[in-house]
């Protein structure tokens, strides 16, 4: 996987192994960060390909969903966990990405997928610049309030411009499956999962590179102490906007993947609940490490599923069954904060340390 910790903690945590593997580890560490991240991403993509070749199409869909949620949550990690700006409206950028993707496919059907994705990134980054610049002077709860209004206000655009944005029903697109050349080799659902994860991993490589270097350090410095960061020569406002733009780009790309995967973009998918779920997934996974985004995204996708299944298997009334996932999620959030504030990532790390000590 991509080196998701900033390099130092990862290096500190490297366990003692045999001489051969240590030499290998040293050579690995001597590689430039970008090369390391790219290699890890390639390995991860291969892993996804192998995994999806044994799973059912419906599981492929879930795996792909974990992918784009992870990208969105990882972008939010950069914004909240690293630069310390609490945004409650990140779903707005997914909304922008999803609709940009849908509109491009509908109105420019000849454009290749990668160009659509690139265009989506540009559009959502521009939105990120606007929002980031408008909110750079806000702090804490004021930023939270402003982004909350953004998440609620933006999807109502669809009702305002029904001809263009399809009103409450949203937009539907058809996406191509696996290229004909690969038809025997890869199923359509597998192709979708691999495309989504490729997008996600490209985003993650960039996020991991940023977070382990000078820019990530600048962000964490601003998060911890704005005044001291400024006096060290760090342009506070600009760095905050950059964090906003990058995380908006990730959100937009995640939204585009959503539309690509599901073939629809509807305003109800981007209601306030989405923004809050992303935030919840971030905290659930653990603040301050990109790995947290993975756990959070898995929780996001599978809690909904398991909750629904649980309700069905218990044969509850529809009123109760419909609300089981949301209540479960809420309870889990509260428990995590009260009992395990470091999130799932903290838990995993603690377990890892335990295993290593035994071994």
């Amino acid at each position: 996987m991509v080196s998701l910790e900033h390099s130092e903690a990862a290096a500190a945590g490297t366990p003692r192994r045999g001489r051969g593997s240590r030499a290998l580890a040293d050579r690995w560490r001597a590689l430039p960060v970008l090369a390391r991240n790219l290699l890890a991403a390639a390995a991860a993509l291969l892993g996804i390909f192998l995994l999806t070749s044994v799973t059912s199409p419906i599981t492929d869909l879930h795996i792909a969903s974990v992918g784009y949620y992870m990208l969105a949550v990882a972008g939010l990690q950069l914004l909240i966990g690293f630069s310390g700006q609490i945004s409650l409206g990140h779903g707005a950028f997914m909304f922008i990405g999803a609709y940009t993707m849908a509109l491009l496919v509908l109105h420019q059907p000849m454009l290749p997928l990668w160009l659509n994705m690139a265009a989506t990134v540009v559009v959502s980054c521009v939105a990120g610049v606007l929002v980031g610049a408008a909110t750079a002077r806000l702090h804490g709860p004021y930023l939270a309030g402003a982004t909350l209004a953004l998440a609620v206000g933006l999807p109502s655009l669809t009702v305002r411009f029904p001809e263009l944005l399809g009103g409450n029903n949203g937009l539907s697109i058809t996406t191509r499956g696996a290229p004909p050349a690969l038809s025997g080799l890869i199923t359509n659902s597998q192709w979708h999962a691999v495309v989504v994860w490729l997008t996600t991993l490209i985003g993650l490589v960039i996020l991991a590179t940023i977070s382990s270097g000078r820019m990530g350090r600048r962000m964490r410095a601003i998060r911890d102490d704005e005044a001291a960061a400024a006096l060290a020569g760090i342009p506070v406002g600009r760095t905050k906007v950059i964090a906003f733009v990058i995380s908006a780009g990730c959100g937009g790309l995640a939204g585009a993947s959503h539309t690509y995967l599901l073939g629809t973009a509807t305003p109800s998918s981007f209601a306030l609940t989405l923004s809050l779920s992303l935030l919840a997934a971030l905290v659930l996974g653990g603040l301050g490490s990109l790995w947290g985004a993975l756990w959070g995204a898995i929780a996001l996708v599978y809690f909904e599923l398991w909750g629904t299944e649980l309700a069905h298997s218990l044969d509850l009334s529809t009123n109760v069954a419909n609300n089981v996932p949301i209540v479960l999620f809420g309870v889990l959030l509260i428990l995590i904060v009260l009992i395990w504030p470091q999130g799932l990532h903290g838990m995993v790390r603690r377990l890892g340390a335990l295993v290593r000590r035994r071994g």
């Binding site: 002077r137 209004a149 949301i326 809420g330 904060v337 504030p341």
Partner: protein, 283 residues
């Protein structure tokens, strides 16, 4: 011109509700530096209790009283059980806990009373221009604000509550039971939230009924300045009237965007809201 007056009056009545919600948020923010995202859910449960009581007894006002009592109890319990353990930790923790509570309570409401809308009565006659119900909304919020102001400014309890909010440790050293005071603050805020819920819910009650109102309430609180109860009232009325004009002249689907626009414009000029005194930041 007539239309304009209608819109203004309707806006004031709606604004009173936003002001009440904003006020409940500001009281809690001042006391514990937490934005209570669970406020709409606390109010929602209060409203459902009122619905049940009114159904059982046939008396609206019994339900109304039950809602206020529910608000009181829920607010106090939330502070004691969920907020106090995360007090003094990262502000994000409190945000997450209140969001979690929001999900739990909304889900629970759906489980108990179903996600389907039930009809919910207005307090008084709601027909016509500036109906008795509208007047009741403005008057009740006005009275609540006055009572609150009196409590905070002129009573020993109010002084204790302010001391506990501003400087908990110093307050403890003068004999103030800080935990109790913060709990009281949450309880009072939730009563006002419940009042807002009772005013905003009709004609139908369903689990998400207060979401939009809450967004406008939080917008009002932020626009007015989270540190200032007076700002919350002005912010609420301002948002109410502005959105009423937007809705009447440009179309109701634009109200949330208009609220966003107002928020952005106000905060870009005054990043801490209209009525927060700029303080020298610590360097």
């Amino acid at each position: 011109m007539n239309h304009f007056i209608d819109l203004t009056l309707n806006g004031l009545a709606a604004g009173a509700v936003y002001a009440a919600l904003a006020l409940s948020l500001v009281i809690i923010y001042q006391a514990t530096r937490v934005i209570n995202f669970a406020q709409p859910a606390l109010a929602l449960i209060a409203v459902y209790i009122a619905y049940t009581v009114t159904q059982a007894t046939g008396n609206y006002w019994l339900g109304f009283a039950a809602a206020l009592v529910t608000g009181l109890v829920l607010g106090a319990a939330t502070e004691r059980i969920l907020i106090r353990p995360v007090h003094g930790t990262s502000p994000l923790n409190a945000v997450i806990v209140t969001l979690g509570l929001l999900l739990v309570l909304q889900g629970a409401a759906g489980m108990i009373w179903s996600n389907e809308p039930h009809s919910f009565p207005y307090p008084l006659d709601f027909r016509g221009r500036f109906s008795p119900s509208d007047i009741f909304a403005l008057a009740s919020v006005g009275v609540a604000a006055l009572l609150l102001f009196g409590l905070y400014r002129a009573t020993p309890l109010g002084l204790r509550m302010r001391a506990a909010a501003f400087h908990p440790e110093a307050a403890r050293l003068t004999g103030v039971r800080v935990g109790l005071m913060l709990m009281t603050g949450w309880a009072i805020a939730s009563v006002i939230g419940a009042l807002a819920g009772m005013l905003a819910t009709p004609p139908f009650v369903y689990p998400n009924v207060l979401d939009a109102v809450f967004i406008f309430g939080i917008t009002a609180a932020v626009v007015g300045g989270l540190e200032n109860p007076f700002g919350a009232l002005v912010g609420g009325l301002l948002i109410g009237v502005s959105l009423s004009y937007v809705s009447g002249y440009a179309g109701p689907e634009l109200t949330t965007l208009a609220a966003l626009a107002i928020l952005v414009v106000v905060l870009s000029v005054r990043p801490d809201g209209l009525f927060t005194r700029p303080t020298a930041r610590k360097v």
